[in-house]
Symmetry: C2
Subunit: 147 residues, 2 copies
Amino acid sequence: MDITRKEGEYLALVYRKQIENGERITTTGLARSLNVTPATVTESFQKLAAKDLIEYRPYHGIKLTKTGNTEAEKLLRRHRLLETLFVKMLKLTPKAACNEAARMDYYCSDELANHICGTYYHPIRCPCDKQIFGERSCIGCAQEGGS
Amino acid sequence: MDITRKEGEYLALVYRKQIENGERITTTGLARSLNVTPATVTESFQKLAAKDLIEYRPYHGIKLTKTGNTEAEKLLRRHRLLETLFVKMLKLTPKAACNEAARMDYYCSDELANHICGTYYHPIRCPCDKQIFGERSCIGCAQEGGS
DNA sequence: AAAAAAGTTAGGGTTAACCAAATATCTTTT
DNA sequence: AAAAGATATTTGGTTAACCCTAACTTTTTT
């Protein structure tokens, strides 16, 4: 079963908040970030859990599973590599690059991402200085296995 | 009213067949190209016509309207500029670049396209030698006003 | 003018995202 | 510890984008 675009957005957002920023994930908090009602977030949690991307204990929050973690990192990797390309090659501002990347990252293949990665010598930080994860399939990449 | 992704695909395909290749557009022919039933194509024609993107005479075929033409060219422009970027900068093969671009073009903004366009000195042909249309909003672009 | 081919309509189906209102479960606060 | 308040979930929808089959209509061919 594969991940829809929205599900990807949830995954990436949860990863950034929970793993990268150490914030606590709440239904209402996410709802506010995504401009939807809490009911919608709950529904998403259920779908994500059904696909084994998060561990979901109703009323007690969520945690990314190993798969969820990996998928979030893949998505963020693609996002941040696109940003890198847009800033370095095309001279977009980091903010504009982020907006473009946000619309395109879900549709960007790992192959394309790997090409960007190789072109820029496997960068470790994106233009906004966030981490770009290694990827097994990318020849020359750091490969820091994940969790 | 805006154009959905599929509608964009129809528009671009119709443009390529009808305008660029001089082929006659038939419901069944499009259905085969897109791997759907003729009924689905008819439905799309009705939607496209409702949005004034094509002129549709039932049983007698379709023609892009001025708006439809413009939109198709915008889409193809983005597609072909993405291809250009992927081939020139990232060394994808033209075929791979086309596949990537096909997934991303709908989500690529005109601003990003303009940046690519400027970076490559407003190219007139994509890697597969098809035309890249001028765009008013792109400073330095040829600006051949369309139809 | 039939038969064949092409196109359309009618009537559905699925899936993804949303929402409001009612309900359930924490968590505070008194 | 009970009530109040905050948070989260369930229930029962809606809408939009695609897609389909089967029946029917129109055009084209023979």
